[in-house]
């Protein structure tokens, strides 16, 4: 059976073809059903004809190999695949609604919309990278959105899985990707850097901000190579409404040298989620393209770009974690916050490219009115922020790798855990206040964070003096009294 002869109502691999929803040059996409599966599904059937570009076939093989390895909300669920010995096909979950491509005619979009789309896509990329896959063909066409809001990435035909043979690189020695979005290192045939996807997302953010493509759509290899030395018109020169922080983010994504881009998609998502924390550099102020002389100098040097060392994605991600310090800045906690700082310092001594986010919680009342000012009428939020920055000063972490957040929430532990989850935090460092009977009875903030955090948690405790330890260990009887007192309180409510 060949793809051309398939028609609605026919069966392939136990799936009933319902409707052809796309007929592209490389594959046709069918809506399919199977009696035992209620999930909406699509089947991708490659066009295999003699004389076809063999890269079509290999890219389908790659997708058949990679998609079953992926899981989670940011990829379509893999259902089944058909073997090359008969008719190859790939069945996956159908994600209804259009791709990001359909939003492009509306560009330039408002900055907050761009940041929202960018952060969701970056979160999806980070999830993909954590599963050891680099997409290498991120385009607006390949980004869909679930009804619940999460971005879904599709089309893994050019992808690279860290632990599987890279069929693409081994077969073809020409740069592979989509011309407007391909990263400079991919042009040089490097397929092992997860930051290539960050470059492609940078192109998409540029497009959403200006309505134009930074490098156009070159058709030749020489045209693709231009992005290694010719820069582009900065977004703010094309759209005055584009804020400085957005230009800063876009230009950082589009750096020619991957090491100058965001280290991970999680770090990019973080910047897009907290525009007010983006540190502005000369990138934000750039108003026009570089002079011909500067471009000429870069052209003279660009051939020196060697392919970067082939290293594993997982090992790279390990070097660029987001570390969160949960700090209690109240004066009586000074000793503990000092120990916490030491612990953070120790982490940053080995993780030089890590990013630190300092978080403190201002507990707001569950019921009643929160005025947000202290007795002297000072703004409490600002006060907390000042103290947090003061705490971090001694760490000497450069401004572009540190940020500060005051969370206002009645439940500190829940606030910290939610923050860690939303910001792709890899490691939480939190202090445990001393041991007390009541704390052990009610449960401490740190123990609740340990129980619920989506990542590694280091609990820091100031050294407890032996005599205090003894006191803590003794009062079993008193604990009983507290218990009965609590029960009494609860029942008398």
């Amino acid at each position: 059976m060949v793809a051309e002869s398939l028609s609605a109502g026919a069966f392939l691999g136990g799936f009933k073809l319902v409707k052809r929803i796309h007929a592209g040059g490389m594959a046709t996409i069918w809506k399919v059903t199977r009696e035992d599966l209620s999930l909406p599904m699509v089947m991708k059937v490659p066009r295999l004809k003699d004389g076809d570009d063999p890269s079509f076939i290999v890219s389908f093989e790659v997708e058949q190999m990679v998609l079953p390895k992926l899981s989670g909300p940011h990829v379509p669920r893999f259902i089944a695949s058909g073997d090359f010995s008969q008719q190859p096909f790939l069945v996956m979950e159908h994600i209804p609604g259009g791709s990001l491509e359909s939003r492009l005619p509306e560009a330039p979009l408002p900055p907050d919309k761009i940041a929202g789309i960018g952060a969701k896509t970056a979160a999806a990329l980070h999830d993909l990278h954590c599963q050891r896959v680099i997409h290498l063909d991120l385009t607006p066409d390949n980004i869909l959105f679930r009804k619940s809001g999460e971005a879904v990435l599709i089309d893994f035909g050019l992808s690279r899985h860290d632990q599987l043979p890279d069929l693409m690189a081994e077969e073809f020695h020409l740069p592979m990707g989509t011309a407007p979005y391909i990263s400079p290192e991919q042009v040089l045939n490097v397929r092992s850097d997860s930051r290539s996807d960050i470059f492609a997302l940078g192109v998409i953010l540029y497009e959403l901000s200006t309505g134009e493509q930074p490098f156009g759509d070159p058709k030749s290899k020489a045209g693709l190579r231009r992005r290694l030395y010719v820069d582009f018109v900065p977004p703010r020169a094309l759209n005055k409404e584009c804020p400085r922080w957005l230009q800063e983010i876009v230009l950082r994504c589009l750096e020619v040298d991957p090491a100058k881009r965001y280290g991970s998609a999680a770090q990019l998502a973080f910047a897009l989620q907290h525009p007010e924390q983006v540190v502005l550099t000369p990138r934000a102020e750039r108003g026009r393209r570089d002079s011909h002389w500067t471009i000429f100098k870069r052209w003279m040097n660009y051939n020196k770009f060697g392919p970067s060392a082939n290293r594993s994605i997982a090992r790279h991600l390990d070097t660029v974690p987001i570390v969160m310090a949960a700090v209690d800045t109240s004066p009586e906690m000074e000793a503990l916050s000092d120990s916490l700082r030491k612990a953070v310092k120790r982490i940053f001594r080995t993780e030089r490219n890590a990013r630190l986010t300092c978080v403190t919680v201002r507990k707001t009342p569950l019921v009643g009115l929160d005025l947000g000012v202290d007795e002297a009428g000072q703004n409490l939020h600002v006060q907390f922020l000042i103290e947090l920055k003061h705490w971090a000063r001694a760490l000497e972490i450069p401004a572009d790798r540190i940020s500060f957040h005051v969370l206002e929430f009645p439940d500190p532990a829940a606030a910290l855990v939610n923050y860690a989850r939303a910001n792709h935090v890899d490691h939480i460092v939190i202090g445990a206040r001393g041991s007390s009977t009541l704390r052990r009875f009610l449960g401490s903030v740190s123990s609740q964070v340990v129980a619920e955090a989506p990542c590694t948690v280091t609990v820091v405790r100031g050294r407890i003096r032996p005599e205090i330890m003894e006191q803590v260990a003794k009062p079993r009887v008193r604990r009983g009294i507290v218990y009965y007192y609590m029960v009494y309180l609860l029942t008398s409510l």
């Binding site: 063999p54 076939i57 093989e61 090359f84 599987l164 043979p165 890279d166």
Partner: protein, 247 residues
């Protein structure tokens, strides 16, 4: 069916025991022994008795160059220490074990799979497959889609596409690798009893014929015990130290 491939055990009881136990936990249905059951190690009797027991229960065993050397009088092409180990091994084996070795085939075809110790172009010449050219040569001499072999003591996965170009890949342990039916594959299962890639842990592979999936495993074993026995048996001491270093 899940098939475990054990190559180059080299009379290492500790490594074989660990791998057998590991493979049972992997739900393996069948074992294929890809030659060089003996030589270098101090436990040829135990290893042979174990493999013979598996053979009686349906396992497949092919001959390796060290197995053949024990059967022959002249052993040209082997370095002196290896030759000494062969002589020593022969003194330890009984008639039953020798008969088993002499009956082993050089290669076996099963469905779309070829099992052979060294290569398919001249299995009795023991030429090594060390690169993509050797692989292309070997694949040209078999109709099978999958070739399983050992002999070089390092795990490698080679694949060949329709246009006959071959590429190599170093597989990571514990990762399921789908073997696309669109291409041909040569699987070097690594070595159970004497890995030489810098990692002393035993290496073997499991192929799932229903899922068409290949997985390599690295299994730690009591290297010190194996090395000590080599020393106590009076075999060249460096056979033991190389085990500890995985070289």
């Amino acid at each position: 069916m899940r098939i475990a491939f054990f190559a180059d055990i080299h009379a290492n009881r500790e490594a074989l025991e660990a791998c057998i136990y590991h493979s049972i936990l992997q739900g393996v249905d069948k074992h294929v022994f890809l030659g060089d059951l003996i030589g270098y190690g101090a436990d040829p009797e135990w290893v042979l008795d174990t493999v013979m027991r598996y053979y009686e229960n349906g396992a497949i065993v092919v001959l390796g160059n060290h197995d053949e050397a024990v059967l022959q009088r002249s052993r040209n092409g082997m370095h002196s220490d290896a030759r000494y180990a062969v002589e020593w091994t022969r003194t330890r084996l009984n008639r039953h074990q020798m008969k088993f070795l002499s009956g082993l085939p050089l290669q076996i075809d099963e469905h779309d799979r070829l099992y052979v110790h060294a290569n398919a172009w001249a299995p009795n010449q023991w030429g090594y497959i060390t690169d993509t050219f050797d692989t292309a040569r070997s694949l040209a001499f078999t109709r099978c889609r999958l070739t399983f072999c050992g002999h070089v003591h390092e795990r490698y996965l080679y694949h060949q596409n329709g246009s006959r170009s071959v590429n190599a890949f170093v597989p990571q342990p514990g990762v399921d690798i789908p073997l696309s039916t669109h291409r041909r594959w040569l699987i070097n299962a690594g070595s159970v009893g004497q890995p030489r890639d810098g990692n002393p842990a035993a290496c073997y592979a499991v192929y799932d014929s229903a899922l068409n999936m290949l997985t390599y495993f690295r299994v730690p074993f009591d290297v010190e015990a194996a090395a000590r026995k080599i020393k106590e048996a009076g075999l060249p001491e460096w056979f033991g130290t190389r085990l500890e270093q995985g070289v």
